[in-house]
Amino acid sequence: MNGAQHILEAFHRHNISTVFGYPGGCIMPLYDALVDDVGVEHVLCRHEQGCALAADGYARASGKLGVCIATSGPGATNLITGVANAHRDSIPMLVITGQVPSGLIGTDAFQETDVLGMTLGIVKHSYLIGDADSLPAIMEEAIELAQSGRPGPVWIDIPKDLLLTDVADTPFPKPEPQHTGCPDLAEALAMLRAARKPLLYSGGGISLGHAEDSFRTFAETSALPAVVTLKGIGNPGKHSPYNLGMLGMHGSRAANKAVDECDLLLVIGARLDDRATGNLAGFAPNAKMIHIDADAAEINKLRPADLAIRGDLNETLEALTGALKDKPLAISDWQKQCRTWHTTGGFQAADNDDPMAPITGPAFIRQLSRIAPDDTVIACDVGQHQMWVAQHYEFDHPRHHLTSGGLGTMGFGLPAAIGAQFADRNGTVINVTGDGSFMMNAQELATIRRYNLPVKLIVMDNQCLGMVRQQQELFYNNRESQINLDDNPDFVAMARAFDIPALHIERTDQIRRGIETILAFNGPMLLHVAISREENVWPIVKPGASNREMIDETRRTSPANKEHVA
């Protein structure tokens, strides 16, 4: 068995059945081995960035390892944005690239790049294989490492000659999974019981720790008012009476108010990202903080925790639930206050009674949320539409909301939707995108067509880079700079060129029929939604400002908003 065949054998052993890749010179031995392998489905995307982002979407939607493959040089460099995206959002991913033959490394050979060197900052770990016999142990270690602790991408760069070299059939040590166990929670419980206004603040770490169920049970049992980060959306569920929704720059007034007023913040699986906290000096000013996270480096990184807990998330949450089950927290006044804030300061999007009125982003997303099946996966891109989805789509599970949180990668949504559709071939998967983001990976329409994936594409087209335009309007004296996209192609014709049917809507009375048409269609379909160029995402916190300084539409002309923002 040569190195290439061993890689496929390792895929089988770890139940890796779907990989996303693009062939080329130095990875050809692996593609040659794939010819004889019927157990691994290789998805041929049309750009390596599409491969990496599809693997990312597959991992987010399924909770499994995403795998992407490319050749050396430009194949590897094209992967970089997708791998960085996975790194920033801690997505488990295995990246395999071919490298020029061992003897040619360092000679500026054709399609040689220093992949190991240029990717150090965007991987959890990486390897350059130096001899074929090390490959089996490294494959095992890489697959375990990508998924354990705080997950992330692990990159293996393999010289072409080693893919063709026989691998010694000797036993190799299998890495032991780390188990951190359940810490002592007495102090945390004492702090929870002493608090009058405790608030639950959760993020993407809940899903990364496969702790969605235990978190939901804890949220229900504790009855703590809860806010979520962008990546935490879907927790603790749309039916939870204590769910205040997303906090932060585009969070709800209710969520940010609750953070501002709370006296104890229970942070679980969140890293206090600047988009969520705003100016840290003004963040939760009256609160003590308990921080529960799998990554010790996140503790005290941005704000000192009064109590830090590192342990198995499921065990920790189950222990907390057990302790609170028989003696609930006495916080009824606080719960009532938060519900009032949610009623008056939650996300609102009025349906327009005028059937001929132009479509607004929030109203469209509200309709989509009402019509789409409960288990629909929404893969967003980045920009205004991403925030409208976060604000107005009611998710009931975090794996139904795929969004590029840390890196903010325009072009993420379409390949991520492809990955999600491979994770569940019969599920409903919708890519909600903007006209700017859509054009960044539009070549993957060919992948959708090739595999006849029933992905639904919704392009919210305002003929500009809306989020940039909005910030230029609000914070740069309305000096528009390089945001105009009014020469976009005809997206309906473009989809049809890929043999994907498409339709266009622009009026409020067309929303329902448009959504129902694409959902009912047996195959991929694109819905082009024309929206106003001038529409903004509200509320907004100026970058660098405190969350209590939220701006809404009525305050948009405030002189304070016109200050230059670095």
Binding site: L116, G117, L120, G121, K124, H125, S126, Y127, L128, G130, L145, D295, A296, A297, I299, N300, K301
Partner: protein
């Protein structure tokens, strides 16, 4: 943060042990740089399958933040701030 040091910039000495592997030192130095520290002195000794690295660092951010980021590196076995005990050991 600008890692450029001035006369008031705090200085620390960290002793690290990590596995010998391709790009080991680059990986370590990359984390030091991106987390806001400047390497004023660096001494490396090979010890079997390990490298022992003594780093004199300058930076205004909390050194504990850098320590915890270095400890996350898969092949780093130990990080000790001179004058304090090693905060963690791990079999690489």
């Amino acid at each position: 943060m600008n890692p450029k040091a001035d006369i008031s910039t705090p200085s620390y000495t960290l002793n690290c042990r990590m596995s010998q592997e391709a790009a080991a030192l680059e990986r370590l130095c990359q984390v030091v740089r991106i987390r806001g520290f400047r390497i004023a002195r660096m001494a490396v000794e090979s010890a079997g399958e390990h490298l022992d690295i003594a780093l004199t660092l300058e930076g205004t951010r909390p050194i504990a933040m850098l320590q915890s980021q270095l400890e996350k590196l898969h092949t780093v076995a130990e990080v000790a701030l001179e004058g304090s005990a090693a905060i963690r050991s791990r079999i690489a």
